[in-house]
Structure formats: C-alpha cells, structure tokens
C-alpha cells in the first residue's frame, strides 16, 4: 500500500506538472498567441478559415503551397494582408487578398470553385415548348409541341406523358400546376386553358380539358388558390377570381388603375401582393403595395356568391 501511495504521489505531481506546462500552450493557441523563439516574446496572431465547394483544393498563401487542402484553417498568422489562392484541377482558381487581424478569425466559407467545363446535359427526350419545375416533388413538367404534358425527374429520367391539353392561340405564356398537382392551368392574353392530369390514362379526359375565353381585358398572370379549385387572375384593370370549371365566369375582386401591375402570390397564406397606382392628396399618382387576403375559403366563396348575384 505504501508503494502504491508513493506511485500515487508521483502521478499527482506529474499531473500538476502537465497542467502547469500544458495550460499556457493550450491557452496561447486558443487566444491566437504565437511564441517567437528568436525574440522570446508572444505575438497575437489571427487565423483564416477556408471552406470551398467542392472541397480538396490546394491552398497557396503568398504563393507558397500549404500542406492542408480545403477545408483548411490557417492559424498563427501575423496581422497583415496575405494573398490567398485556391486551386482545384479542372476548376477556375479563386484568389483574393485577405486581411488578417490579431485575435480575429477571418472566415472564407462561401467559396465556390466553378468547373472550367460546366456540366451541361440535355434532359428532354421530345420537343417541347415550355417547362416548369416542381421543387417539392423534384420533378420537371414539359409542355410538348404535340399538346401533351410530360414529366421526368430532375435528371431527365422516368420521362412520361401524363396528359394532353387543348391548344390555344397564341401559344401559352405560362403553365401553372395546381397545389394538389392534379390540374394545370395555362394562359395567353385572352384565354385560360385547364387540363386535369389525373384524367389521363383511360379516362374520358376530353371532358376535363377546357378553354375559357377572357375577352374583357389582358391577362398578365394567374395563380392557383391553395384549394386547387380557384384561380386568381391578374389582368390589366382588375384582380379577379375564377372557378376552374367549364363556362366559369370571373369575379372582380378589385379594380386597378395600373395597366401592367407587378404582383406576387403567397400560396401558404393565400394572399396576393400587388402594386397599383392611387391618386394622393397632392393630386399625383403614386405606386403603392397592396395586400389582398384570400385565405378564408368561406370568405372567398361568399364573396363570389355575392358578386354572382349582383
């Protein structure tokens, strides 16, 4: 037991010694101090953190190649400006002058190294006139020149025909899929076409493809309401709402002064944001941003019913 106690005493004092000797070096490293053997003094340094996309690039600091590849941290840099160059084979190099401050970490974490020959691939298998992405489901929709809708994944694989649509003239400006992904609306200045996707494959889909005329104005944009049944129309003189059924009649929700209003639709809250001009007290016309809430289905239906009776 006695010898064990002696060993213990040795271990204890050894531990104390390691703590006393190790702590300054750990703390100086953490605080960014560098010890100079030449001057026997500590100098406060800074560091630079480099992350690239893709990783594994060579790092040159003042034209000297470092051992570490990205992601890399270069510590104990004396304050000053350094020339940093990052190179990766078959990618454009990145270079910049970097200012290092004492006790500070300079973070270069958003460096993208672009390939010299970008990876461009053709995805479509057939001729098409328009396409749009469904980011949520990672799918690409194509409007084919044969008046059919096609679908593939983001790599162009699993390319399949999923529906047809009625042609409108001139060609559609834009295709918009409904939030439930069962319908697609498309439009030009005076016509709105709607086609039901799930009606394809054996169903008498012709009855669920229709085109609505919009003679009263010029359509600029259309949006699906979150119920996937109503369409919100933005025309040159009005904001209107329309049921997605044959022979539906649009209902004006607001009249506009501006002929070509810009707008954005928040599908999550069913709210339309649009710019319109209004005359101010000084008699001049000013552009204002307006918010039209269509988030209550009941309210929307009541509004439509009321306006239909009128």
């Amino acid at each position: 037991m006695l010898s064990e106690q002696r060993i213990r005493a040795v271990l204890y004092y050894l531990s104390v010694l390691i703590f006393i000797l190790g702590l300054p070096s750990i703390l100086s490293s953490v605080l960014g101090y560098k010890f100079s053997r030449r001057t026997l003094s500590f100098t406060k340094t800074g560091l630079v953190v480099i992350k690239t996309q893709p990783s594994g690039a060579n790092v040159y600091l003042d034209n000297a190649l470092l051992n570490d590849k990205t992601p890399a941290t270069i510590a104990e840099l004396l304050p000053g400006t350094y020339h940093l160059k990052i190179e990766l084979e078959k990618h454009y190099p990145w270079a910049s002058n970097v200012a290092i401050e004492a006790g500070k970490a300079t973070r270069l974490e958003k460096i993208i190294l672009f390939p010299v020959r970008p990876n461009i691939r053709q995805l479509n298998k057939e001729k098409f006139s328009a396409f749009w992405l469904d980011e949520e489901k990672a799918e690409i929709y194509y409007a084919g020149e044969d008046n059919a809708i096609y679908r593939s994944d983001f790599e162009g694989n699993n390319y399949e025909r999923i529906a047809t649509f009625l042609q409108i003239d001139p060609a559609p400006v834009k295709f918009v899929a409904s939030p439930d992904r069962k319908k697609i609306a498309y439009f030009n200045k005076h016509k709105i076409g709607i086609t039901y996707l799930d009606a394809y494959s054996g169903q008498p889909f012709f009855s669920q493809q229709f085109v609505l005329d919009y003679p009263s104005g010029v359509l600029f944009n259309i949006f699906w309401h979150s119920d996937s049944y109503h369409l919100v129309l933005l025309a040159n003189r009005a904001v209107e709402v329309l049921e997605a059924k044959p022979e539906a009649v649009p209902i004006a929700l607001a009249t506009l002064n501006k002929k070509n209003p810009s707008c954005s639709y928040d599908l999550h809250n069913d709210t339309l944001y649009f710019i319109d001009s209004q005359r101010a007290a000084d008699g001049n016309m000013y552009d204002n941003l307006y918010k039209l809430e269509l988030n209550s289905r009941t309210t929307l239906q009541q509004l439509m019913k009321m306006q239909t009776h009128e």
Binding site: R8, L11, S15, I26, S29, V30, T45, K104, A105, R107
Partner: protein
C-alpha cells in the same frame, strides 16, 4: 453568532457556490464571452488531467482488488495468530430494513451463513421498522430459517417517532446496535472484541469477507480508530438491469475503487465495518441524518481528534442495481437514490460545526478536510454542466461577432471537443475494467447482452448530466433553502 445560525450559514455554502459558479459562467458568457471561453477551457483541461490521473488510480486499485482476490484470508488469520486467539473476535452484522422483502434478505443472510468465518462468531441483527406493518411476519419468516445458524440472531423492531429521531436508517441501526449491546453484555463479550458491520439489506458478502475484515483488524495499527470499507459492486442483478442504471452503479463502484487509493480523503460509504467499542463510544450512528454511512466516519473523526481513518478492504460486497418496472420509473428511482447519496453534503455543516468547537485538531487538518468535503460536493454538482453544457454558451450568448470573428470563438468548440475526446481514452479503460468485474452471464440472458454492455457506454455524457450533476444540485439547493430531505428506501428488484 449562535450555533444554529452558523450551521444554517454552513448549509447554504455548498449550494451557493455551485449555483454561483453556474450563474457566473452564464453571465460571463454573455458579458465577456472570451473570458468565459478561457475559463471553460482551463476547467476542461484540468478535468482531463484529473480524469486521466483518477483512471490511473482506478487501474491500480483494480489490480490490487484482483491480486487480493486470490488470498486465503482465513488461513492468513490462522497464520497470524496460530493459537487461535483471533477467534475471540465476534462479528456483529446489522441489516437495517424497512420495505425490503424477506427474499432480498434471505440471499444476504445466506451469503453470511456460507462465509468461511466460523458461524459461532457471528451475530446477526435484522433491524425492522415497526412502521412497516408486515415487519413481524417477515421477522418470523427469517427467524424460522436462520435463527439457529449463528452465535446470535436478533430481530429488532424500531418504534416510530422516538424523541430526537427522524425516520432514517441510522436511527434504526442505532436502535439495533443498542439491542446487540445488551445481548453482548449478557454474554459478557467485551466490546473490544466485536467488529460491527452495517449492511444494506441487499448486501451479499464474499465468502472470505469476515476473515479479510478480521485480518485487517488484527494488522491495522490502532484498529479501533479505523473504519473498514469494502468495495461495493452491484452484481446481484446487474445482467437484468437497464443500461443506464447499470452504468450508474458501475461508475459508483469505480469511484469507490478510486477513493480507496486516496486514503486522506477516503470516507465510509454504504455497507462498511468498524469497531463496536468505537461505535458505542461515539454514541452510535446519527439518528436524525440521512447520510449515516458517512456521518459515522466524521463522528469518529471528531471523537478521536482527527486520528481516525478508513482502511480499504480489497474485497467486494455485492448489492442490487436500483431499477424499476419501466424506463421513467427507473430514471426516477436512480435520481432519488443519487440525490440521497448527494445529500451527503449535509456532512459539511456537521463537520465544520464540529471543528469549530474542537481545539485539539490541527487547523491545517480542519481546513484540508473541510475543503476536500466541500470541493468534492461542489465539483459533483457542476463538472458535467461545465464540460457538457457550458462550451456552447459563449457562442450562443456571446453574440455573432464573438462566434464568427474572434479567434477564441472559433477555437472554443474545437478545443473543448478535442479535450472531451481525451476522456474517450479513459472511457475505454473503464469499459475494459467493467468487463472484468462482471459476474458470469446467467443462462437466461442472451449472449448479445455482452455487446449492449459495451455499446451502452455511449450514453455516459447523458447519464453524468441527468444522474450526476442534477441530483447533486437538487440536494444542495434543498439544503441551501432549508428544505431538508426525508429518508426514502430504494426499491430493489431482482429477476
């Protein structure tokens, strides 16, 4: 200042220090995040060195335990005193019992019966609490089986609510020890020749426990001025216990092994033994304190003016891992048990109060022992919080400027992570040692439990936080606020 006020002040100190350190670091992390980061790194580095140092002690103690396992203590007693005078020593074993079932006690008594020390020198007292309505039936059940097996077998029934007492294990053990004293008086056996062991109800001794204890009693200078502490292991039901409960108890065993190497800090814990004469001289266990197992040491320490120590016995006594019927009940059970252990912080006001009126103990000893006691409890409460939770605080509270642009903010999580990984080295050693202390796998336990018992060490950080720091903080806070704990027995469950 009167003694009540001093005692109250002393009760506040541990909790105040623990919460003070935590709050100080929280405030510092928002106010001076760089300073806080440095403080955390200093503590982390200190903790790694300490862990490696203590792990080395664990290896030494473990080696000693296995070395002494092969010793034939009975033979060594005989060789020590060939005339057989060692047989003059009687062993009194007290089992304070409250709600524990007779089945648990039967296994413990069976282990004593099967020990290699002559049963004619063993006296067993099963100390029941009268407030348990089944106590007399249980006593009868055990008496029928064990009454004639030892030199003496007593069942005592501790009345509820005796003056000056609170319902604690110590009160029951004291009542039993007084009954045993009457028994020995009748048999005219001098107290000097009696060694008393106070065991938890689930304590199963090794075959050579009493021989080992007798040998140490014979070979220790001033044997009456020492307590004898075996190494507690929790092997009775370890193969059936849930992972985290098993890990907690394994860690407790290892801590006890480590403490056995730090003799100047070693204090009695759980099941332990001592001279009956000393027990009578110091007026038995405290009857109003929960941590009777450690307070008895400090009572003796004060009685002998600091000339009292704990002698480690490198022999195990096996107890039960505390677990219950489901995960949450087991967590709660473990939490309450660890909080009761952490309530040992009540020793600090007891000890310092004792020191204040004592002039014969050197001041250095007083300061050193008080500091050790206080430091161990404060560290118990805060170390896991500082190591596991605090490193993220300066980053969160210190603002984006500190986290994003300062070298310390960048280095803090990396350095603390690196230092924390060093504990993995210690963990590997602990895992290896844990395998060597396990009893053989029961037949009804599948082989893949072996793999689980290796993998489960991953949850150690969670355990040290939930069942390490938190119950200790809870106990210290209660003491600080004067909301004193009441004794609760820990449910014991065996398959």
């Amino acid at each position: 200042m009167n003694s009540t006020k001093i005692r109250r002040l002393l009760e506040i100190i541990p909790g105040f220090l623990s919460w003070g350190v935590i709050f100080f670091l929280i405030v510092l992390s928002a106010w001076q995040p760089a300073v806080c980061a440095v403080a955390i790194i200093v503590f982390d580095f200190y903790w790694i060195i300490r862990t490696l140092y203590l792990t080395t002690l664990l290896v030494m103690a473990h080696r000693r335990l296995f070395k002494e396992r092969s010793r034939n203590w009975l033979k060594e007693c005989q060789e020590l005193e060939p005339q057989g005078s060692w047989l003059k020593f009687y062993h009194l074993v007290i089992f304070p019992v409250y709600k524990e079932s007779p089945a648990i006690l039967k296994a413990s008594l069976e282990a004593i019966k099967n020990s290699n020390y002559p049963n004619d020198n063993l006296v067993v007292v099963v100390a029941f609490e009268e407030r348990n309505r089944d106590c007399r039936a249980n006593a009868k059940d055990l008496e029928d089986k064990f009454k004639g097996e030892f030199f003496g077998y007593l069942s005592t029934f501790h009345p509820n609510g005796l003056p000056g007492e609170t319902p604690t294990k110590g009160a029951n053990a004291t009542f039993a020890a007084k009954a045993a004293k009457e028994f020995f008086d009748r048999k005219k056996i001098p107290y000097e020749n009696i060694i008393v062991s106070c065991f938890d109800a689930d304590t199963c001794v090794e075959k050579g426990y009493f021989s080992c204890l007798t040998h140490h009693f014979l070979t220790t200078p001033k044997p009456h001025q020492a307590s004898y502490q075996p190494i507690p292991v929790y092997n009775n039901n370890i193969w059936y216990a849930p992972s985290f409960a098993r890990l907690v108890e394994l860690t407790a065993s290892f801590c006890q092994l480590i403490e056995s190497m730090r003799l100047e800090k070693f204090v009695t814990f759980s099941s332990h033994s001592m001279s009956f004469k000393t027990l009578v001289d110091i007026d038995y266990w405290p009857v109003n304190m929960i941590s009777d197992d450690s307070v008895i040491y400090w009572k003796a320490f004060l009685f002998f003016k600091g000339n009292y120590r704990v002698v480690p016995l490198y022999i195990t006594v096996s107890m039960d891992v505390a677990y219950s019927t489901n995960f949450f009940k087991t967590i709660l059970l473990q939490y309450k048990q660890k909080r009761r252990w952490a309530w040992g912080v009540e020793n600090f006001p007891f000890l310092v109060n004792g020191f204040l009126g004592e002039k014969d103990i050197p001041l250095f000893t007083k300061i050193r022992r008080s500091y050790h006691l206080l430091e161990s409890h404060v560290t118990w409460a805060i170390w896991a919080v500082i190591i596991i939770l605090m490193p993220t605080l300066p980053i969160i509270l210190g603002g984006s400027f500190f986290a994003q642009t300062s070298a310390v903010g960048y280095n803090l999580p990396r350095i603390t992570g690196l230092l924390f990984n060093f504990t993995a080295v210690a963990s590997l050693i602990w895992i290896f040692l844990s395998r060597t202390t396990l009893p053989p796998r029961p037949r009804d336990v599948k082989w893949h439990k072996n793999i689980l018992m290796l993998v489960e060490w991953i949850i150690v950080p969670f355990i040290v936080l939930i069942l390490g720091s938190t119950p200790a903080l809870d106990a210290q806070t209660r003491l600080m606020l004067g909301r004193y704990m009441v004794f609760e027995t820990t449910e014991k469950k065996r398959k």
